[in-house]
């Protein structure tokens, strides 16, 4: 039943004449994603969703009567490999690229995208990727909420719960550091006080010392800016072990099935910010993505699928908006005109010349862990 609906919707979205599809060469779309290395946590779900959606589009007749051909490149969570990936898929003739997966990958690839004149649909929250001061600003379009948006949403939730003294646990990388910096800024605006902050490397084997330090600061709640699920689960365990008995709030990085599986039943009550709630409580357009993924034997992991498919759907919308020949520059111009186009996620994507941050707070939901599942909170 669901499948039929999905088909119908997709067919409606990409209505076109079948005869045309036969006569024209496929449109090439690039994806430069972290399929290995630490950011594979996001890169793999991004890829799964993009592949599933491309298959669905092609099955239902393509876009403007043309099939979509995906050109994939693994950036290995390495900025220079991201540059190489963008060069390579552009050589293969793509009109736009989803990726790279990481903020540093996008910052590295930006100048190349500018030189090769191909737009990047960036699935990362790092603020500086859409800084207007970048020479490559015209070529980078963010398809996820920015880090500030995320942090504001979750800290506002903490404030709403009446907590005042906040401890921060963050991972030692760009994502974690941003959490600390914006966290301090936004907390002040919301009248919260950050009483202690502790950090850990990706691969820390034991977090009891960090948890102890936070316990000593006597916070009302702890905010976790973490994207490595093993780190989040390990901290949760350490917190209970050392007697840090305050509510834990995780940023969107932890909205992963793997984080919940690792915590098991003991994770009940942990709050997690998420882009949609794909694995547990998908709502309408998201359910179609779940169906597509399951048809390919993939289990939805979290929000990687949503931002990946958002990137792809933005490209589809832009393709349809292009008048005349498809090319990188034409796609770029078209991307700045699209708004509220069909996607598989809740919330509205909207770009303009001035706004390259396509998604806002409306894609975000606060969820609560309940017996190994994320329950969307009203």
């Amino acid at each position: 039943m669901l499948k039929v609906t999905a088909m119908a919707v997709a067919a409606g979205l990409f209505a076109s004449s079948a005869s045309n599809a036969q006569s024209q060469a496929p449109i090439k779309v690039g994806a430069v994603l972290s399929l290995s290395g630490p950011a594979a946590v996001f890169g793999l779900p991004e890829r799964d969703a993009i592949e599933a959606v491309v298959e669905e589009i092609n099955r239902t007749g393509g876009v403007n009567g043309r099939k979509i051909e995906l050109v994939l490149h693994d950036d290995k969570t390495d900025p220079s490999e991201a540059v190489r990936g963008v060069t390579q898929v552009t050589r293969d003739g793509v009109v736009a690229i989803v990726g790279p997966s990481t903020g540093s990958g996008i910052l590295a690839a930006g100048p190349v995208a500018e030189r090769l004149r191909v737009p990047l649909l960036a699935p990362a929250g790092t603020a500086s990727i859409t800084d207007k001061k970048n020479s490559f600003y015209p070529w980078v379009f963010r398809v996820a909420p920015s880090d500030q948006t995320d942090i504001h949403k979750i800290l506002a939730d903490i404030a709403k719960d009446g907590k005042r003294r906040i401890g921060v646990f963050y991972q030692e990388d760009a994502y974690g550091k941003v959490g600390l910096d914006y966290g301090q800024q936004i907390a002040k605006e919301l009248g919260l006080q950050i009483v202690a902050s502790v950090s850990a490397a990706y691969t820390a084997t034991d977090l009891t010392a960090q948890a102890t330090q936070l316990r000593e600061a006597k916070p009302d709640a702890v905010f976790m800016q973490i994207s490595i699920s093993a780190l989040g689960a390990s901290f949760h365990k350490a917190a209970r072990q050392v007697g840090l008995d305050v509510p834990l709030y995780g940023n969107a990085g932890l909205a992963q099935k793997s984080f919940l599986d690792a915590m098991g039943d003991s994770g009940n009550g942990v709050r997690v910010l998420s882009i949609g709630n794909l694995p547990y409580e998908p709502i309408d357009p998201e359910t179609k993505l779940v169906t597509l993924l399951k048809a390919r034997g993939k289990t939805p992991q979290g929000w990687g699928e949503l931002v990946g498919s958002n990137g792809l759907m933005a490209i589809m919308a832009a393709i349809k908006a292009v008048k005349g020949d498809l090319s990188g520059p034409a796609m770029r111009d078209a991307l700045e005109t699209i708004c509220d186009f069909p996607t598989y996620s809740r919330g509205k994507g909207c770009f303009s010349k001035e706004v390259h941050d396509g998604w806002g707070e409306d894609v975000l939901v606060i969820t609560e862990v309940d017996r190994g599942r994320l329950k969307t909170r009203p």
């Binding site: 693994d74 390495d78 900025p79 220079s80 100048p111 550091k177």
Partner: protein, 305 residues
């Protein structure tokens, strides 16, 4: 004439690189790979000198490249220097640091040297990502001026030229008493001392030269990619250049260069994504099993190339 006959490595390198450049020039993606390979080769050459000749296992060469790269990035982005003006600084600073580091570590047991250099590169990485005002922190430095922007073939020529100069310097050194001294130190320090060699001094000088090569590699990296972050160059590069050196042949001057080419091309040809590591690791093991003195060891007698 005899001068160049004794320095055949440089000539072989130039010939091969010209040929490779001519082929790669037809395809921007392969040209990009070729440039990355030449940059890696320059850093790999530096481990060839420190480990292959002097027997000091340094796991910090990637960090020397990072220092070279950040030096030029900071000078050009923050202070508006010309990249060419920054080049000597980007070479001299790593060289100076390498000289000092060698004084510290060459007294240690071989594995302790590896640990010390590994630790040092971790420290450097933390400094690079924490010193926000100078290095741009985790986010890194974007907008580093390109050299020969839009003309990758010219940049390739520049990179090959710098690599060739490094090989020539390496070759010159090996043809002098210092080269023989390094070989003696690798085999037997007491023997080297009995030859009248000031071991720490010579090792420091060789280390400085190697660090200068890595720094030059970093300079190329910065001005080719125009972007630098703490993850761009560092421990991972240090380990991959060690692999390149061993795969190509540690004792052969061009061994690390050959290794850089083979591993660089291999990474492109192997199936990508999750399983790539399986193939990469497997290929590495097979190469080591087949060619015990490195791939150049299969073709050339030690010491000739």
């Amino acid at each position: 004439m005899t001068y160049w006959r004794a320095r055949s490595n440089t000539l072989v390198l130039l010939a091969c690189a010209t040929l490779a450049g001519a082929v790669a020039a037809r395809d921007p993606a392969w040209l990009d790979i070729a440039i990355a390979i030449v940059i890696n080769a320059l850093v790999a050459l530096s481990v060839g000198l420190t480990f292959g000749q002097a027997g000091i296992l340094s796991a910090a060469q990637g960090s020397f490249a990072a220092i070279g790269a950040y030096t030029t990035a900071i000078l050009t982005v923050r202070l508006g220097w010309s990249p060419w003006l920054a080049l000597p600084v980007a070479i001299a600073l790593p060289a100076g640091l390498g000289h000092g580091l060698a004084r510290l570590v060459t007294r240690l047991a071989p594995l302790a040297v590896a640990l010390a250099t590994l630790t040092l590169s971790a420290i450097i990485e933390i400094v690079l990502r924490s010193w926000d005002n100078l290095t741009g922190g985790y986010v890194g430095l974007a907008g580093i001026p390109s050299v020969f922007a839009g003309q990758p073939i010219a940049f390739y020529g520049l990179a090959v030229g710098m690599l060739a100069l490094a090989v020539l310097a390496y070759e010159n050194l090996m043809l002098s008493r210092f080269g023989r001294g390094l070989t003696t130190i690798r085999g037997d320090r007491a023997r080297a001392i009995a030859d009248g060699i000031a071991v720490p001094g010579l090792l420091s000088a060789a280390f400085a030269l190697a660090a200068a090569m890595a720094g030059a590699g970093g300079w190329l990296y910065a001005h080719y990619f125009s972007y630098l972050s703490p993850g761009s160059l560092g421990t991972e590069l240090s380990i991959s250049v060690l692999l390149m050196m061993v795969v190509g042949g540690a004792r052969h001057i061009l061994g690390p260069v050959a290794g850089a080419v083979i591993l660089g091309v291999l990474a492109q040809l192997l199936p990508a994504q999750e399983v790539q590591g399986l193939f990469y690791g497997g290929a590495l093991i097979v190469i080591l099993l087949v060619a015990r003195n490195g791939l150049l060891g299969l073709v050339r007698r030690e010491g000739t190339l």
